[in-house]
Amino acid sequence: MKSIIRDGLWQNNPGIVQLLGLCPLLAISNTAVNALGLAIATLFVLTFSNLTVSLARRGLQSEIRIPAYVLIIASLVTAIELFFHAFAPELHARLGIFLPLIVTNCAIIARAEAFASRQPPLRAVADGIAHGLGFAWVLMLIGVLREAIGSGRVFADLGTLIPGAGNAGLQFADGGLLIALLPPGAFFALALVLILRNLIVARQSATAAEPAHES
C-alpha cells in the first residue's frame, strides 16, 4: 500500500515522470484556483474509474476492455462536469473545454489498464487517489508559480471554488511578468519543476551510490 502511494505521488507521478495529461496540465495551470479545480475533478474521475474497473475486472475480457473504460470515464466526466456547473458555475465557465476534456487525459485510462484491471478494489482506489494527488500537486505547484510570477498574487478568485472564500487572493506584488500567464510560461514552469525533480533524483541516487563505492 505504501509503495502505491509513493508511486503515485513521486516515483511514477503522472505529471512529472510519466508526462501524461500534459494538455490540461499546461493549459489550466495559469492560476492556482483553476489548477485546484481541475485537480479535484481529475482526482474524482481517476479514483472512481479505478474503482469501477477493478470491481468489473473479472468480467472484462481483453476485447471489450478499452470500450468499457471509455464508457466509464466518459460518464464520470459528464457527471463531474454537471456537478461543477451546478455548484461552481464561475469556475465551470473558466475551466471551459478542459473539464470535459478530462476524458482524454491518458493518465486515467493508463491507470485503468495498467493497474486497476488487475488489482482488488481497495488497492485500485488507493492507486487512483495517489495518482490523482500526484497529478494535483504538480498542477497546483505550476499554478501557484505561474500566478505568482505572472500577476503577483496567488489564490485569486478562490470564492468561485469555495463559496464564502474571498476573491482577492494573497497579493504580494503589484503586477508581474505577463509571460508566466501565457502559454510559453506553462512550458517554462513545467521545465523548472522537471529540473527540480531531476536534481532531487540525482542527489538521491548519489547518496545511495556512495556507500557502495566505499565498501
Binding site: 471489450i64 470500450p67 459528464t78 456547473h85 451546478a86 505577463l178 500567464l181 501565457l182
Partner: protein, 210 residues
C-alpha cells in the same frame, strides 16, 4: 469448435458492454437529476445579473427573455455572420430600452458583448460575456479587470459620429495600455449597434409579432 467459443465470447462481450453502457447511462442520468434544476437556476441568475448591469440607470420592471428579436445575417450589426439577439426591456408595458447581444471582431476571435441602449439612443452600459483575447493585454475589456468598459456609459452617437473612435484614431475613447486592436473592436461594435438602433428604431419599438 473454436468458432463456437468465439461466438459465445462475442455474445458475452456484447452483453457485458451493453450492461456497462446502461450503468454509464445511469450515472449520467442520476447526476443530471441531481443537478439540472440548480444549473438552470444558475444560468438564469447569471443572465439576470448581466442584464441588470448593462441596464444601469434604467427604471424597468420586466425583460422579455423568451422572445428576443432574432436578427439573422446578413445585417449591419456587429458579428454580421451570426444570428444576433435583441431583448426588449419594459416599464409599465412600454419599451424603455433594449439589450443587444452582439459579437465584436476581437484580436483572437469574437468578443461576445451585451450592449444596453435606452430610448434616448444612449448606451446604458456594455459588458463582455465571453472572449479569447490575450490575458493581461486584451482582457482589460472585462469589468473585473479594469474600468475601461464603463467609458461607454451614457454615451450617444452624437452629430459628429467621427469621434466615436479611439483617441489615437482621433476619437473620444481611451485605449488601455498594451492593446489597441481589442478596444478598437469593442468601440466599433458599440458604434455599429447604436447606428442599428437608430436606423431601425421604428421596428424595435414594436411588440414582437406572434
Amino acid at each position: 469448435m473454436s468458432a463456437d467459443i468465439k461466438r459465445t465470447s462475442v455474445v458475452g462481450g456484447t452483453l457485458k458492454l451493453t450492461a456497462f453502457a446502461a450503468f454509464a447511462a445511469l450515472i449520467v442520468a442520476a447526476s443530471w437529476q441531481l443537478t439540472h434544476e440548480r444549473i438552470e437556476q444558475n444560468l438564469h441568475t447569471a443572465r439576470m445579473a448581466q442584464f441588470a448591469t448593462v441596464l444601469s440607470g434604467v427604471a424597468f420592471d420586466r425583460i422579455d427573455y423568451d422572445n428576443p428579436e432574432l436578427v439573422s445575417p446578413p445585417h449591419t450589426l456587429p458579428g454580421s455572420t451570426r444570428e444576433v439577439r435583441i431583448y426588449r426591456v419594459y416599464q409599465n408595458d412600454a419599451i424603455v430600452a433594449w439589450v443587444f447581444n452582439v459579437y465584436a471582431a476581437g484580436y483572437s476571435g469574437p468578443i461576445e458583448l451585451m450592449v444596453g441602449i435606452d430610448r434616448r439612443q444612449q448606451v446604458t452600459a456594455v459588458r463582455v460575456l465571453s472572449h479569447t483575447e490575450t490575458p493581461g493585454l486584451g482582457d482589460d475589456i472585462e469589468r473585473s479587470k479594469s474600468d475601461w468598459i464603463a467609458s461607454f456609459n451614457n454615451q450617444a452617437l452624437g452629430d459628429d459620429q467621427a469621434d466615436w473612435a479611439l483617441r489615437k484614431d482621433g476619437g473620444r475613447f481611451d485605449a488601455f495600455t498594451g492593446a489597441s486592436i481589442t478596444p478598437r473592436a469593442v468601440v466599433i461594435a458599440v458604434r455599429d449597434t447604436l447606428r442599428y438602433a437608430e436606423r431601425y428604431e421604428e421596428t424595435l419599438i414594436m411588440e414582437p409579432s406572434e
